[in-house]
């Protein structure tokens, strides 16, 4: 363990990371945002999920430094009287949870399909890639928006609130798996031709073992690179769905639903309800994107283009 | 008389993160009008880079760090972009290694020929087309009128290299630099292309720099040879090799080991044993060149002076050039 740590400390990875101020800044920003989101119950002065805590009389209190600001509410309150700062922390937690969960799901489906498609028979490859094509040609937003509409209508708004998180993970996960499948398939096809795979086959290893132990580790670099971008995209997708009213309900808001709830008050003076969650959302996505960009430059994998 | 091309002390480096690697170090050779020179050496010896640096076309992060390339009296390493553009493809043409990659896949052969002519001569499209057709006939492309409207992927490898040669001929240059023009082709076609190149050079009185690792080809086509070894120590060879590396190279050739009439006199090859000579070890990497003579760790003649002092390229007793302490 200590050896591993030392090796990491002396690695080229860390060296070039520390030499890039943008990477360091965005990493620091991401850590701050993510940890304050995960520890929201500790940091947040109020619990936005607790209805008893919320007083409608406090609604639309401006931020502290504005006239009429209330010291209890640092960034003001939303249209229902919730402390905006607390709501943002909790909301970011939801957004991150859905983002990471959805990408984990995309990666699971995508890697499985990609491996099977790249290593399996031609016929299987054709079928799987056809499905991926169909899925891709219907843009993922469209799929997510549409499924969101169906599910909300089926369950009714009340019950929908309970299943919102797993549903969003599922729908965003299902919408984007072809990205992984194509990337993994392309790397598998490239790796398959190499001698070490031939050698493993000559030794008589089972296809599953070759796939899992020999090929998969060599496809992980591009997977890692697209994962960062995919997390950012998933967070954006969730925000977009919530903004349309098809994502997280206002009672358990994500950043997107906070923005939505503030949108109608934005031009009538209560700009903070939209602005602060918006800025946090942008910072969160931006820090992930910048990190992903740096990672791509550093690892420089041959990404599948099409 | 002023030589056509005079390369002296040419040095090319590649900029890395914090250091610069020397790919070509202190290379010198000259070429008269209509003369053909072979530039030989192992892979990675900097032959291609030398070829590109003559036209000042070293791609980044490489750069010319020193020396000069005098072409018809003008130093190309210091020429401005417009002068260079005027010389490239006009006075000096280049033939690249792989004809599959050299021609632009989305433009017709005709477009790629005509644009070259019109970049250098004030002619109409019709006139340019006539020149292109003439050159295509010179490289023996059948039915050139039809071929002009076709795309590169409709040609075989050998045909494409003929077209590249035709493009090189378009403006009747005085020098052609051919960078391993046959390595990417089938063996049977290699000879055809080489013969064609030789024939054209002779009939049009063009100079040729033939970059290759094939000493056999060089001996048939060129009148002069420059051998490059790690970072570009050069030795001109016209008859018997002087430098121990060159002797080693020649000794490794089967035709030289077997026959005496290959155009190069054999020195190091022990004909009786009929066993190919071999240069021990491999070329040092660019970042790890030994002190003194870069060849010292592989040389049979190595002595103390070779490990301390780098030999300079100098005239030896019979008037030829070699960079070696051990030959007189």
């Amino acid at each position: 363990m200590a050896g591993l740590l030392r090796r990491f400390r002396q690695s080229y990875f860390l060296y070039s990371f520390l030499r890039d101020p943008v990477a360091v800044t965005s990493f620091a920003l991401f850590v701050i945002l993510a940890s304050s989101a995960l520890l929201a119950p500790v940091f947040a002065p109020h619990n936005p999920y607790d209805g008893a805590n919320i007083d409608i009389m406090d609604a639309e209190t401006p931020p502290l430094w504005k006239d009429g600001g209330n010291p209890a509410f640092l960034l003001g309150t939303d249209n229902q009287g919730r402390d905006l700062f607390s709501a943002i922390l909790y909301g970011m937690r939801v957004s991150l949870l859905i983002g990471v969960g959805a990408v984990a799901m995309q990666a699971c489906i995508g890697i499985m399909v990609g491996l099977l498609s790249g290593y399996g028979s031609r016929r299987l490859d054709n079928i799987l890639m056809r499905i991926a094509d169909v899925q891709l040609s219907f843009s993922s937003y469209m799929v997510a928006i549409f499924l969101g509409a169906i599910v909300q209508m089926t369950f009714g708004v009340g019950r929908y609130e309970q299943v919102a998180v797993p549903f969003l993970v599922l729908v965003i996960g299902l919408a984007e798996w072809p990205q992984y499948a194509r990337t993994v398939r392309a790397s598998v096809l490239a790796e398959k031709k190499k001698e070490y795979v031939e050698a493993a086959r000559v030794i008589g290893l089972k296809p599953f073992r070759i796939m899992w132990r020999h090929i998969l580790p060599n496809t992980l670099t591009p997977v890692l690179v697209i994962s960062t971008v995919q997390v950012a995209n998933a967070i954006m997708s969730e925000a977009a769905l919530s903004f349309l009213g098809l994502g997280m309900p206002v009672t358990k808001p994500s950043l997107g639903s906070l923005i939505k709830s503030g949108f109608q008050y934005f031009f009538s003076g209560s700009w903070w309800i939209t602005l602060f969650p918006g800025v946090v959302l942008i910072l969160l996505v931006l820090s992930i994107n910048l990190l992903g960009d740096w990672l791509r430059d550093f690892l420089n994998p041959k990404l599948y283009k099409d | 008389m002023q030589p056509l091309l005079d390369v002296s002390s040419l040095t090319v480096k590649f900029a890395l993160r914090d250091t610069a690697l020397t790919a070509v170090n202190d290379v010198s050779f000259t070429l008269s009008k209509g003369e053909r020179l072979g530039l030989v050496g192992e892979s990675g010896a900097g032959k291609s880079v030398t070829g590109f640096s003559i036209l000042n076309l070293v791609s980044k992060p490489g750069f010319i760090a020193g020396g000069s390339v005098l072409f018809e009296g003008r130093d190309l390493t210091r020429a401005d972009a417009e002068t260079l553009r005027d010389i490239r493809g006009n006075r000096i043409s280049m033939i690249f290694q792989d004809p599959m990659m050299t021609l632009n896949p989305v433009l017709t052969v005709g477009t790629q020929m005509i644009e070259t002519i019109r970049a250098h001569k004030k002619v109409t499209r019709k006139e340019a087309e006539a020149i292109a057709l003439d050159k295509l006939r010179k490289v023996y492309i059948p039915s050139p009128e039809r071929r002009l409207t076709q795309y590169p992927h409709e040609f075989s490898g050998g045909m494409r290299q003929r077209i590249v040669i035709a493009i090189a001929l378009l403006t009747s240059p005085s020098l052609i630099i051919a960078d391993e023009p046959t390595t990417a082709l089938d063996v049977t076609i290699q000879a055809e292309i080489m013969d064609l190149l030789l024939e054209l050079c002779q009939s049009e009185d063009m100079g040729l720099i033939l970059i290759t690792h094939d000493l056999g080809v060089v001996s048939q086509v060129t009148q002069k040879i420059a051998v490059m070894y790690a970072m570009g120590d050069t030795a001109s060879v016209v008859g018997a090799p002087l430098h121990p590396y060159t002797r080693g190279l020649l000794g490794a050739l089967p035709q030289c080991a077997d026959k005496a009439d290959c155009g190069l006199e054999t020195v190091a090859a022990p004909r009786a044993r009929r066993r190919l000579n071999q240069i021990p070890g491999s070329m040092p990497s660019l970042s790890d060149v030994p002190r003194g003579c870069p060849f010292n760790n592989r040389c049979e003649l190595c002595e103390t002076v070779c490990t301390t002092t780098r030999p300079l390229l100098e005239k030896k007793s019979d008037g030829r050039l070699a960079a070696c302490h051990m030959v007189a």
Binding site: F243, G245, L286 | S59, N104, T116, H153
Partner: protein
């Protein structure tokens, strides 16, 4: 070409079939649903249902909107021009900006301007469309008062059934903010794509050969490198155009742009399923059309495809 079209349509129909099946009658109570199922023939086998639906669809009958009390297709056709116009203007903005910026930053990757472009583009890709839209409304409409914040003004009918805002300046002002907001998400992607492909093309042997031939630099860049860049850009461009139609839903919601996207969100709120299904089929048809056109253009630029077609 023909085989390709058939395949595309078949794929689209398959997807549509799955979706339409799931869609019908999900919004009403159980009792009503049963009655409705019987009436609409939803208890018939799927294949029968599908055949019936397809037959109707081919005759231009995509069902009737509950809310508008009009055939769904008519509703959509009346809204489509607004959306297509928005996408068209956004696409123009994307092409006009991404090509020069992408080419420039590929040719001079280390210049200050290129770094600035790249910095802006990564920020651009990180700002959700609806936030761009809201901020732009705040700055240009509320604060500066230069441009209208919502709606389409008084569009002029240029063809029967096709109203346009492109003909007069006061109408055109309405489309400026929505189209910029819509292009804001795609623009960075295109700039980066063109830059990456251009950089790759500039390092190829044939570009080096073009330089060795002594061609002028503009010809090397714009003819030899850029024409090869076009192939992947066209392919990705086709897919992105489809995605852009999805983004119109967000843009139109913020700007209350009376197009298909705005109609879609309203239809979701009103549980107007027939309209939703019709919308999807219409958008699917647009995808198929766009992809086919993209394939044709691709074949026009790529000589290898043309040869394959000729044989």
């Amino acid at each position: 070409m023909f085989a390709f079209i058939v395949r595309r349509v078949a794929q689209a129909l398959l997807v549509m079939f799955i979706i339409t099946r799931e869609m019908v009658g999900v919004s009403v109570s159980v009792k009503e649903r049963e009655a409705l199922r019987e009436k609409l023939g939803l208890n018939d086998p799927y294949l029968v249902q599908w055949a019936r639906f397809t037959k109707n669809a081919l005759q231009g009958d995509l069902g009737t909107s509950y809310f508008y009390r009009k055939p769904a297709l008519d509703v959509i056709l009346s809204k489509a021009p607004a959306t297509l116009e928005l996408v068209f203007v956004a696409q123009c903005i994307i092409v006009l900006i991404s090509v020069p910026v992408g080419v420039y930053s590929a040719c001079r990757p280390r210049s200050v301007l290129s770094r600035l472009f790249m910095g802006i583009s990564i920020v651009g890709v990180s700002v959700p469309v609806f936030l761009t839209a809201i901020f732009m409304i705040y700055i240009f409409s509320v604060h500066l008062g230069w441009l209208p914040s919502f709606g389409r003004g008084n569009p002029v009918e240029i063809f029967p059934g096709w109203t346009s805002v492109l003909t007069t300046w006061s109408n055109f002002k309405h489309i400026i903010l929505p189209s910029i907001a819509l292009s804001s998400i795609m623009l960075p992607l295109f700039i980066r794509l063109i830059r990456a492909e251009m950089k790759e093309a500039l390092e190829t042997e044939y570009v080096k050969f073009a330089r060795a031939k002594g061609l002028p630099e503009w010809r090397v860049v714009m003819v030899h490198a850029f024409k090869n860049t076009l192939l992947p850009v066209i392919t990705v461009g086709g897919v992105q155009l489809g995605i852009m139609i999805a983004f119109t839903i967000l843009t139109e919601t913020v700007f209350q742009w009376q197009g298909m996207g705005f109609m879609f969100v309203e239809a979701v709120e009103r549980a107007d399923t027939a309209l939703l299904v019709a919308y999807l089929i219409f958008v699917g048809a647009i995808f198929v059309a766009v992809n086919t056109v993209v394939d044709l253009i691709y074949g026009f630029v790529n000589p290898m495809v043309r040869i394959a077609g000729r044989k």
